[in-house]
């Protein structure tokens, strides 16, 4: 693996980090933490070629789970299948104890499973604050009846949400961009807004597709820190990422995919000892 800009920090922290991971792992084994997402034997083919085949894994309701694998392993397809952008040909997805297989993307989002995209996907000609407000899944004033009855029907509800959004902006140190059009932000800032927008939906679980793509190292560390914080507050997070250092630093568990199926699951330390994983990916 090539040296990454994050390497410096890793060298200092890696030993400590790994030991805490082990501690967490033992803790989990004792409390038998619940599984928020269960993917079973998921399959999907495009024109006879399998993008995902017989993929099964679980995501625990605590901590950050990494999803790694070489290019073409089917990571993005798995996310599309789980989040409802693509319909699976076979298999099942259960989220928070409920079968969500084959539901549409907006239905799944409303159940509390919110995803972001590999290519940043903000509402470019809307301000940062507006982007955040769209994240709210259901509010007064989003129906025609409310809209036509006039401002008094939704004004108070909106003012409260604006306050919530501003608190989030302050927390992510993005409050100075409140009125900036999202299309005018830098790559890293866009990622932050995507994360905040997803948080406005008050999700039970976040799926992030390469949240560090096109982000400078300082910002990447910042995003990593925010993700850790959110996970500590009880949000389940599944992250697809190429940056191994990031995976090592922030993920509690890691799922390795290769050629459309799941190769292995475990902590990074365990995976480093796994012959198959080393051959397929880590070598």
């Amino acid at each position: 693996m090539t040296a990454s800009p994050l390497q410096g920090e890793l060298d200092d922290n890696v030993v400590q980090r790994r030991s805490t991971l082990r501690a967490e792992e033992q803790g989990e084994a004792m409390t038998t933490s619940s599984e928020i997402l269960q993917v079973e034997a998921l399959g999907c083919s495009f024109g006879g070629i399998f993008a995902v085949q017989d993929a099964s894994f679980v995501v625990k309701s605590e901590g950050i789970t990494g999803l790694i694998g070489p290019n073409g392993a089917g990571k993005s397809t798995i996310i599309s299948l789980v989040a409802g952008s693509t319909r699976p040909d076979s298999g099942s997805v259960r989220f928070a104890g409920e079968d969500i297989t084959g539901l549409k993307a907006h239905q799944i989002a409303r159940k509390g499973l919110v995803r972001t995209f590999q290519k940043s996907n903000l509402f470019a000609r809307m301000t940062v604050l507006e982007n955040l407000l769209v994240g709210v899944t259901s509010m007064k004033g989003d129906s025609y009846v409310d809209a036509l009855l006039g401002r008094w029907r939704w004004q108070q509800a909106e003012a409260k949400l604006v306050d919530d959004a501003r608190e989030l902006l302050v927390r992510f140190k993005m409050d100075r961009y409140e009125d900036t059009y999202a299309g005018e932000l830098s790559g890293g800032e866009k990622r932050m807004v995507e994360l905040m927008r997803a948080m406005m939906a008050q999700p039970k679980m976040l799926i992030l597709d390469e949240p560090m793509a096109g982000v400078n190292p300082t910002r990447a560390r910042e995003i990593g820190g925010h993700l850790r914080e959110l996970a500590d507050e009880g949000l389940a997070i599944l992250v697809v990422e190429h940056e191994m250092v990031f995976i090592e630093q922030v993920c509690n568990r890691v799922i390795v995919m290769a050629q459309g199926s799941v190769l292995a699951e475990g902590t990074m330390a365990e995976l480093r000892r796994n012959r198959e994983v080393i051959d397929a990916y880590l070598s």
Binding site: S85, R110, L122, L148, R176
Partner: protein, 340 residues
């Protein structure tokens, strides 16, 4: 003002009201939600036919020279309301075909094709709305209460302005509410909107139907003023006059759309009347279409957001005061499509 001048002014004002209802409706679909409804004229026309049929009475009236279905004598505001409802109902199957499942260019193509088909159907199926001859002798609403035709002309201006106000209330209500924010989100990115729990297909469908209803109202108001409506009144190209008005005035901005209406269907089309007649008869009318096309192209190239662009929506008040705001950068060169 001479009475001739007054007639001319009232005609322009009615034309303005009719067009502004249509343009606000189209802007709600195109400028706000991003639906490329290139078949918008279908719904204005359906409204016009319905507005005529609902006032003409039965087929046998006026000597029975016109053939149409569903004749009735609805009292005044209801003939217009019913026309809007009919246009909305027609929009449901068309929306399912052309809007809710398709995006961008595909919507445009399907809607354009449907607009061409619709004119041909109205022409060929003579029993629906009297075929190529169209409907005529449409009675003017409430005309029996007024003595002079000039007086009535001003009354009709007032009536059509009331309908325009209604359209303003509807479109303004939707765009100002959180609902409007969701519609703009769909315009910017359908995939991101659905990932945030927005039922994109359903939202597009509803906007399509609401827009069609307003288009129907504009058609009914127009036909009850003109007194006749036929296939020659609504070539598919008419939709582009509305689009040009929106692009020139400013997409997603109601004031911009109003300015666009004043400039394109009113000023632009009226001014060309005073051009000297050059070439063969009808050449200046054709040139008018060329000029509208050029106007649209020029604006797309040099001022894609129009004369009065969509306004940046900011929020004042609230308990967390954002004091460290970044300087606001205005960019007008960003092109029609978003870059996200």
């Amino acid at each position: 003002m001479s009475s001739l001048m007054q007639f001319y002014v009232t005609e322009l004002l009615v034309l303005f009201s009719v067009n502004i209802i249509a343009v606000w409706a189209l802007d709600l679909q195109f400028g706000v939600t991003g639906i490329n409804n290139f078949g918008f004229i279908i719904f204005q026309s359906v409204g016009a036919y319905a507005g005529a049929v609902f006032t003409l009475g039965s087929q046998s009236a006026n000597g029975g020279f016109q053939h149409f279905i569903g004749g009735a004598h609805l009292p005044y505001p209801w003939s217009v309301v019913a026309a809007g409802i009919v246009a909305g109902i027609v929009a449901i199957p068309i929306g399912h075909m052309g809007i809710s499942r398709l995006r961008g260019d595909y919507q445009a193509i399907v809607m354009l094709v449907l607009a061409v088909m619709a004119v041909n159907i109205a022409n060929a199926a003579v029993n629906i709305v009297n075929g190529p001859a169209g409907l005529s002798l449409v009675p003017q609403p409430l005309v029996q209460f007024f003595h002079s035709s000039l007086e009535y002309a001003w009354v009709y201006v007032a009536l059509s302005l009331v309908w325009a106000l209604l359209a303003f209330y509807v479109v303004r209500g939707v765009t100002a509410a959180p609902l409007g924010r969701r519609l703009r989100a769909i315009r910017e990115s359908e995939s991101a909107a659905s990932a945030l729990g927005i039922n994109v297909a359903q939202m597009k469908m509803r906007v399509f139907v609401i827009g069609a209803m307003l288009a129907g109202v504009s058609g009914a108001v127009y036909v009850q003023y003109l007194g006749s409506w036929g296939p020659t009144s609504w070539a598919y190209t008419e939709t582009f006059v509305f689009f040009t008005a929106i692009v020139v005035g400013g997409t997603g901005n109601m004031l911009g759309a109003a300015l666009g209406v004043a400039l394109v269907p009113i000023a632009f089309q009226e001014l060309t009347r005073f051009f000297p007649n050059v070439g063969y008869p009808g050449m200046s009318a054709s040139l008018q279409w060329v000029l509208i096309g050029i106007l649209m192209l020029v604006f797309m190239w040099f001022r894609p957001r129009g004369l009065i662009p969509e306004r940046r929506r900011t929020f004042r008040g609230g308990k967390v005061l954002a004091l460290r705001k970044a300087p606001v950068i205005e960019s007008t060169s960003a092109g029609m499509s978003s870059d996200g």
